[in-house]
Symmetry: C2
Subunit: 394 residues, 2 copies
Amino acid sequence: MIKATQQQTKAHNRSLLLQLVYDRQQVSRAELARLTGLTRTTVSGLVAELIQDELVGEVGLGPSIGGKPPTLLQIVADSRSLLGVDLASHEFHGAVVNLRGQVQYRYSIPLKGDAEVDPLERVYELVDGLLPMCKSPILGIGIGTPGLVNSEQGIVRYSVNLDWRNLPLGANLKERYHLPVCVANDCQAAALAETTFGANKNTPNLIVVKVGRGIGSGIVLNGRLYGGYDFCGGEIGHMVISDEDVDCRCGHKGCLEAVASSQAILTRVQAAFSSSPVLSQMVHSPQEVDLQVLINAYHAGDTLILSELKRIGMYLGIAFANLVSVLNIHKIVLAGSLVVGASDGIIPSAYETMWNRSLDLLGKEMVLETSRLGNDIVVLGAAALLMQAELGLV
Amino acid sequence: MIKATQQQTKAHNRSLLLQLVYDRQQVSRAELARLTGLTRTTVSGLVAELIQDELVGEVGLGPSIGGKPPTLLQIVADSRSLLGVDLASHEFHGAVVNLRGQVQYRYSIPLKGDAEVDPLERVYELVDGLLPMCKSPILGIGIGTPGLVNSEQGIVRYSVNLDWRNLPLGANLKERYHLPVCVANDCQAAALAETTFGANKNTPNLIVVKVGRGIGSGIVLNGRLYGGYDFCGGEIGHMVISDEDVDCRCGHKGCLEAVASSQAILTRVQAAFSSSPVLSQMVHSPQEVDLQVLINAYHAGDTLILSELKRIGMYLGIAFANLVSVLNIHKIVLAGSLVVGASDGIIPSAYETMWNRSLDLLGKEMVLETSRLGNDIVVLGAAALLMQAELGLV
């Protein structure tokens, strides 16, 4: 509420113009002045800066409205390289992307069978592999990691998967690479990816629920990630939603992620392997059943897997009913290879359960859909975080 | 993001100054200029207006810091009358309050046994009874009502209790009384009361859970009520949280309010009346057991009621675990005469369940407390809504 300094005003106006150029695809200086209420002189000065910085370029002339045809401006998508890293999948996955979220280079490091190596060393290895592939000035490094993360300080407070406690990941990376670094929970990053680069671009309010080895969600309200008291908004994986005697790695029983994660369904399907003729034809032993095999077997008509998918849908539906009842939100987007690869096995039962467990007026209006961003969703979210932090682009 | 007009800037600055005077209790013009960055001339002009409107008054001189001692300003609490109405209790309850939430007059209309009278007539009767008691200019009428409410349009979309569907309550009252009117869900109003006038004044983020005939919550984020997609944020009463075969009036089974409302415990205690020696000494028949009798019997050591209260606590704990997991919020305030009157019977088991059903790092940091605003909480919330809408006071 305090009056802004001239410096702040200028930075605010510069971000505002950059955002408009980003959103409008092509726009003239005159239109920018009209849209913002800023003077043409102010607009011209700030645009000159943005062109100088190569973030914005002139791309030709627009239609004349009775005078000289206006010069059109657009974002130079390839003017910056954003380095996105996803530590939440079965391998560490990274990519170099541009300002439009187009992936220019991917690099992954499998994690299997090297429990004695510090995951942080693997992160360095990944970033070391990505850096030489950047063809333009690097905006920074964005990291999506499983666990509870203090995004402001770049600290991973607790990650079961990676066995990290209070790791200053952001500071470590900054010190090593001398680049801006953003760190966020992987599901929160995924949510931002969906509203920045996904099919729900510019949807102000939505929840992305990511089902992988763990389950979590990212909540976007008014175009911004909802952090909560200490950045754990959307941590729904450990809501207890089942009375079953299934241990969760958090120490409780019946948590959402203990019964509905991709690991949970794999374990159950492996245990029932012998009763599935489809699976037995595809692989020789339960140990060979991985997520892709499971999805393939489902599409080949395996009824055991269908019933397990329905069960996952039912558990997710309970969580969705809770989300809808608390947040009165309109859309949930599902991410993760299991739910995207076998969505028609999961989503109908998720709808049914959600409807049965929430007020009709709320539940019936909900839309469930799957993300189209695939395995890059966290990487893209990490890049979107950087764009917010470094350029003010939402 | 569009540049503000001069008019908007002036209104914004006026609200800003009023808010500071309200928050600081006593403050000088010089301090206001320092705090806002506005010029002394601007501050003096706007303060003169506020004094002219009698919202602000001069109250004497402050300590000199080396020159003329400064004149101190404060809110004139009694300069406006706010009419608050609560349609969610067993009787329609209204009050005239001042700008500090001090209740100056209360008036209630019992609803028992007149099902054939349109509740809207009772609302008019209540307001008619309150209006003559206002001793200063009336800021407006604020209403907290059960059900789903479109606060922007003042429409009650659906209220089971009052049998209203798409009732333009705001427009009706405006037409009849020619005063500003605010309408909100009772639990949302209660939440605002707590952060405006309650012990959690200026707590930016909290949830108020109100347990009465129904159960709902109001979510305050950044000092503002969280509305959600269509103003139903916090409608947690119909989350299904129990497998029990208990019908809810919404059509589903096992909803939070079907198993944990004050009505739910009354029904169960009445059914088990004969097994309670304490109750049998206090009243002669199950029908005579009302909420106050039940609370009295609990404090007299009735073990039946204690076990029922624990059960309520357990159900509430499930809801709280969901709230915490989704919103990562730090504090839940309980309201409603049952939870306030028998809090030590309910809260320990609510804590236990909440801890067992959410991630330790989230649940263990949660604080549960009871509101001290008593039966006026919704009335005060309705007044707080008016202050936000009419004076820009948050």
